[in-house]
């Protein structure tokens, strides 16, 4: 691995080898350090050591929830008589997020190695990568890489003579954003419609076919090899306390160089956009920024200098989420964007819970009228109440995500909204 062992010098972890041509082939990947440390892990480490290193590292789930990964792994009961499953969440459906795609298509062996190490720690025999259906190319790349890994005894029976055996299979989703939610993912992997389950029971105890299950994001698992090689303390020294390590931010919208950029946690939003992303397309001050994917509340220019960490973004009134930054400059039509997002949530609601099922459809139809110029004052009250009473009252957090853009639009741009209403109010 070319990552520096001096945490102060680390700027990339997951994207370390992303630009190397043909890094997806096993031979090239190995030249660049893939699987080099694996034999040591399999021979010298045990479950406790691995889980402790990951705990020490401070790694938090990179899919959006930000839950401490080591802690999540420690919840899995041992010796239940039931198999434990490791599921990689590669559904990447949160609008604005496209980071996992690059890991999978450019450095698949990084993910595979991370899964083998995680599987070893959790005593997993069968692991699956649940990848969104649209990522056909990425699924093919992964399948090819997995095939090579099996042939090289890196997967399957008795990996590298260690006595540990693990299978890995890529399972394609079929177009449902809600399957990115871990219990919906499990339902989908069981061959059903992806409708989330209520918790408790938690997947760690009763997940895939009622067996202990860990669901981790691609980026989370891809960070594991570096943590085990350099140590949890090394990772903890990168970034900011409680917000350790690096993060891949997917930046899109009104920037000149949209794309995926991995930077140490704590990098400011302004610095990321103005340096890596080539600045705003129009003007120098953003109109609004969605910091963590469309399900997170918007932040305004006053927070342009916020450090990109879980804690700081929360103080600014939003969430880091998946790290998908959607930038709106002065030319953005926030009402139209909100209308489009309300369509997204109505389309993607699984339909189980009353407020989300009926509320997202209601909100979409009202937004269509408001954006189209036939809205009235009463509609604004409806949008607010319908959204507020979806959020927090459902089985999963999709409703919260649906409420976020509506409430942000109403809170931060009331005048712009009102300017679109009809003259007469009802």
């Amino acid at each position: 691995m070319t990552i520096s062992s001096d945490p102060k010098k680390v700027t990339k972890i997951c994207f370390d080898r992303i630009d190397i041509p043909n890094q997806k082939s096993l031979a090239v990947a190995r030249e660049n350090g893939a699987y080099e440390f694996l034999p040591t892990v399999l021979k010298k480490f045990d479950a406790d050591k691995i889980i402790n290193e990951v705990k020490t590292s401070g790694l938090r789930g990179r899919g959006g929830a930000g839950f401490p990964t080591g802690l999540k792994w420690s919840f899995v009961p041992r010796n239940t008589g039931k198999p434990t499953y490791l599921l990689c969440n590669a559904d990447e459906g949160e609008p604005g997020t496209f980071k996992d795609r690059d890991i999978m298509r450019f450095d698949p062996h990084l993910l595979i190695e991370g899964m083998i190490m995680a599987g070893f720690a959790l005593d997993v025999r069968d692991a699956y990568i649940y990848i969104r259906g649209e990522f056909l190319h990425e699924a093919n790349v992964l399948n090819e890489a997995i095939k090579e890994a099996y042939e090289a005894n890196l997967l399957g029976e008795n990996i590298l003579g260690s006595g540990f055996s693990m299978n890995l299979l890529v399972h394609r989703g079929a177009g449902a954003y809600v399957c990115g939610e871990e219990t919906a993912l499990i339902e989908s992997l069981e061959g059903r419609a992806g409708r989330p389950r209520f918790k408790p029971p938690f997947p760690a105890v009763e997940g895939f076919y009622k067996c202990p299950t860990v669901v981790n994001n691609v980026e989370t698992l891809a960070t594991v090899p570096a943590i085990l090689k350099h140590g949890g303390a090394w990772h903890a020294a990168i970034g900011i306390p409680n917000n350790t390590g690096c993060k891949i931010f997917s930046v899109s919208g009104h920037v000149n160089k949209p794309g995926n950029y991995e930077v140490p946690m704590g990098t400011t939003l302004r610095s990321l956009i103005e340096n890596q992303c080539g600045g705003l397309q129009h003007g120098t001050v953003p109109k609004a920024i969605i910091p963590g994917g469309s399900s997170t509340p918007w932040i305004l220019a006053e927070h342009y200098d916020v450090p990109l960490t879980y804690d700081d973004i929360m103080k600014a009134g939003s969430f880091l989420g998946s790290g998908a930054i959607i930038v709106m400059d002065e030319t953005a039509d926030v009402v139209a964007l909100t209308r489009r997002l309300s369509h997204f949530y109505a389309h993607e609601s699984c339909g189980q819970c009353t407020p989300c099922r009926e509320g997202t459809g209601w909100v979409e139809r009202v937004m269509n009228r408001v954006d189209g110029g036939s809205g009235c004052e009463g509609d604004l009250k409806v949008l607010k109440e319908a959204s507020e009473h979806m959020a927090g009252r459902t089985i999963c957090a999709l409703a919260e995500g649906a409420a976020a853009p509506i409430l942000s639009m109403l809170e931060h741009f009331p005048d712009e909204v009102r300017s679109r209403l009809k003259e007469k109010s009802s």
Binding site: V178, F198, A346, S349, G351, C353, T354, R365, A386, G392
Partner: protein
């Protein structure tokens, strides 16, 4: 146990209870739609939100387990607003149908809208409307009213086991769909209308007839099968509108047969006035005339009485009284499915309650189409199987159960001795012995491997053995049951408290019938043969229909053609063609009386409906006959009649005097030592006669609703395994079947893999009816 606080009141509940269940136990009102105590938790309606101190969001109480010291609030301003919003969400697309919707007056949506909802909704956009489905004759659909609680989907999967209702699409396009061919295939489908909280799934037969507040509710007992479910008969004026499960009954569900038989109450088949045959036709008469005609035909003659078991206990006893006084020494018969009249080691009735059967370590079903025979008990076994507990099944067909029995075996009825002997061998090897077992085994040459499955189930701490109609109607039943008794004894399942011997009875009141008629009973076949042979002068048929039901249709027809017949009953049926006189007896819904179900539970019905015509309670008809034949009437009122009953069954005293419920136990005959007969069946194929839920019993056949269901669920006349057809060199279609006596007739023979090879399964009793009289037959030739 966990202690928590609900609205500041301390409450103690079992650990793991949900907050909603704790609230219900304590009496705190929490609204809900999707929760149902018999179904898995779905938590999708979000109506049951409550506040928990320290938690920053309201939580769904149905899926949140209680925790020690938890403080729950079920009322607050926030919750009020939440509930108001939930109602507003639900009423966005729900049509304003109340004036034309049957659920009105018994609708959760209405009730909560009034209690929790705002006075008007603010939705001004396009409203959703949904295409309806045809789910068959029992359930009507109005899917636009659906609020997606998924109770019906969970019912179809967990209770009915058919999984034919599901959820399609997502978001607010989501809709419930049913995949059916002509009709819902479950025998429990009527319950869907009960559990749907809105008017989306409604009871079709009673649709649009009355409002819930117009009906009178009569607590009653269903007598269609030995389960004897507690039912509520809803009537408006004198008309029965609907039958539903009784709210606090033992079982939460009833089957479609007990539910939809009610239209038989007012069918043209009802005997509502005395009739006598004049010039070849039955014509209206009056009681005096009819009684005097009856007396002329019966008094001083040799009479054979055949009756059905589903009269009340009081009514049944009155038959005995009539027999003793007017026809001293005469024999009676009442079991249309029993050929072997020798004493059984354990007579009809269950030793366990249905709950104990559900909870037993092992359950083994021997020779029964349990789903059709006892659908509500089968539902308990389905629950068992779904939760991963074992059920073994051995019989002549892999009857549809809408579940997957853990293990099963197909055998022919003639193989039962070999099965039992093999089981005996197996348990002996494991050191389980009972005196007499060696002798029993020695009389049987063959061994059948299915016996190993039986033995495996018997080696357990508790085993519920359900002995079904295939064994009970066997010609050598007494020997088989003795053999099973030995097996149960050897394995420790005959002691009090762990007695697992459950012989499924013919109908209701089995335990009492043994007590009351034990010494005067004979087999139905023998009684009819006696009539045909000139040993009887007349037949008195009380409620029974041996032409349409049972295993003696040929004998019945022959007998009825030979001697005059008096018909006492509620339903005319085919038998009426032979009746000289018809005397109307009141239906089970129209009498005050007691009934004993297969578990031995006694139910006293005291809210009868009014009679529809001149029919009288059976016991009054019997006493009138006693009087008219010059005898001394032993009972003039219910009190005296019950004293008579107590002569035969003293255990009932406790129940009638309001004491604690005591279960009446089935008879045991310890002295039985019947060994397997060496006789071989006279033809190569065993005949097994099908029990059809929708067509069995005169009541069912008099109900248009059940006749329609029977038509939709019917099978070919006769079914055999493909190998059986092949070895006879025949193919599916019209084929000729020859009985042991040499009679030949043509039937439509279909093939199915789930019928045991070597078995002729008579599926369509009405058409293949006469074959039911046979125990073996041959496939004689093709078209």
């Amino acid at each position: 146990m966990t202690v928590l606080y609900i609205n500041d009141e301390e409450v103690t509940v079992a650990a793991g209870t949900s907050i909603l269940e704790a609230c219900r136990e304590q009496g705190a009102e929490v609204p809900y739609f999707c929760y149902h105590p018999e179904l898995s938790v779905a938590a999708n309606c979000r109506m049951c939100l409550v506040e928990v101190e320290g938690w920053n969001k309201p939580t769904a109480s149905c899926c949140t387990p209680v925790a020690e010291g938890m403080k729950v609030r079920t009322q607050s301003e926030g919750l009020e607003k939440d509930r108001e919003m939930m109602m507003e969400y639900l009423l966005i697309h729900h049509p304003l149908d109340c004036p034309v919707c049957d659920q009105g007056g018994a609708c959760k949506l209405q009730d909560y809208a009034v209690e929790h909802g705002a006075s008007h909704g603010r939705y001004n956009e396009v409203k959703r409307s949904v295409v309806d489905h045809d789910l068959g004759p029992f359930i009507s659909t109005c899917m636009t009213r659906c609020i997606h609680c998924t109770r019906c989907v969970r019912f179809a999967e967990e209770i009915a086991g058919t999984s034919d209702m599901g959820v399609l699409d997502r978001g607010d396009h989501m809709r419930i769909d049913g995949i059916v061919e002509d009709c819902l295939s479950s025998e429990l489908s009527g319950n869907l209308a009960d559990i749907c909280p809105v008017g989306s799934l409604l009871d079709k037969p009673s649709n649009d007839i009355s409002r819930p507040w117009e009906v009178t509710r009569h607590k009653s007992t269903c007598t269609q099968c030995p389960q004897g479910c507690d039912i509520t008969i809803e009537s408006r004026g004198d008309e029965v509108i609907r039958i539903k499960p009784y709210r606090d009954g033992v079982e939460p569900w009833i089957c479609d047969r007990g539910r939809y038989v009610y239209d038989a109450f007012r069918s043209d088949e009802r005997i509502l006035e005395p009739k006598v045959r004049e010039n070849g036709a039955l014509t209206s008469s009056n009681w005096d005339d009819a009684i005097s005609r009856t007396v002329a035909l019966l008094q001083g003659k040799r009479v054979g009485i055949v009756f059905s078991p589903d009269w009340s206990i009081e009514g049944l006893t009155s038959i005995r009284l009539l027999n003793d006084i007017a026809f001293e020494g005469a024999k009676v018969a009442f079991d249309l499915h029993r050929r072997d009249m020798r004493e059984f080691s354990f007579e009809e009735g269950l030793s366990m309650t249905t709950q104990q059967i559900e909870d037993a370590e092992q359950v083994v079903v021997l020779g029964s189409d349990l789903r059709q025979r006892l659908p509500v008990l089968m539902q308990r076994l389905r629950k068992r199987i779904n939760s991963g507990r074992p059920v073994t099944r051995i019989g002549a067909m892999n009857y549809r159960t809408n579940s997957e029995p853990t293990c099963d075996a197909l055998i022919r009825p003639r193989d039962w001795p070999a099965v039992i002997a093999r089981a005996m061998e197996q348990v002996t090897e494991l050191g389980k012995l009972a005196a007499g077992m060696d002798e029993w085994m020695s009389k049987v040459k063959e061994r059948h491997e299915a016996g190993k499955l039986l033995a495996d189930a018997l080696i357990s701490d508790s085993c519920a053995m359900l002995v079904g109609e295939e064994i009970r109607s066997h010609e050598d039943a007494a020997a088989l049951i003795y053999g099973l008794d030995l097996l149960m004894r050897a394995c420790g399942h005959t002691e009090e408290g762990s007695d697992g011997r459950n012989l499924i009875p013919e109908g209701m009141n089995a335990q009492l019938l043994s007590a009351v008629f034990g010494d005067v009973r004979t087999s139905v076949g023998a009684l009819f043969d006696a009539a045909s042979n000139g040993e009887l002068d007349a037949l008195l048929l009380i409620g029974s229909d041996p032409l349409g039901d049972g295993l003696f249709p040929a004998q019945a027809k022959a007998a009825m053609g030979k001697v005059p017949l008096i018909q006492v009953g509620a339903i005319s049926g085919q038998v009426s063609e032979y009746a000289e006189v018809q005397l109307p007896a009141a239906a089970y819904s129209e009498v005050e009386g007691s009934f004993i179900n297969m578990e031995g539970r006694v139910r006293v019905a005291d809210q009868p409906l009014k009679s529809m015509g001149s029919e009288r309670p059976l016991w009054k008809v019997m006493m009138r006959l006693v009087q008219s034949m010059g005898g001394e009437v032993p009972a003039v009122d219910m009190g005296e009649l019950r004293d008579q009953v107590l002569r035969f069954a003293p255990a009932l005293k406790a129940t009638w005097s309001g004491g604690a419920e005591e279960l009446i136990v089935p008879s045991r005959n310890r002295g039985v030592k019947t060994l397997a007969s060496a006789a071989k069946p006279s033809a190569s194929l065993d005949v097994v006669s099908r029990y059809s839920l929708y067509r069995e019993g005169a009541w069912a056949r008099a109900s248009d609703l059940l006749v329609e269901a029977g038509r939709l669920h019917c099978l070919d006349d006769v079914l055999v395994h493909p190998d059986t057809l092949k070895s006879a060199g025949l193919s599916e279609g019209e084929n000729s079947i020859k009985t042991a006596a040499g009679d030949e007739a043509a039937y439509y023979v279909g093939q199915r893999e789930d019928v045991a090879p070597g078995v002729l399964f008579v599926a369509k009793r009405g058409v293949a009816g006469d074959l039911s009289s046979e125990s073996s037959a041959e496939l004689a030739g093709g078209k």
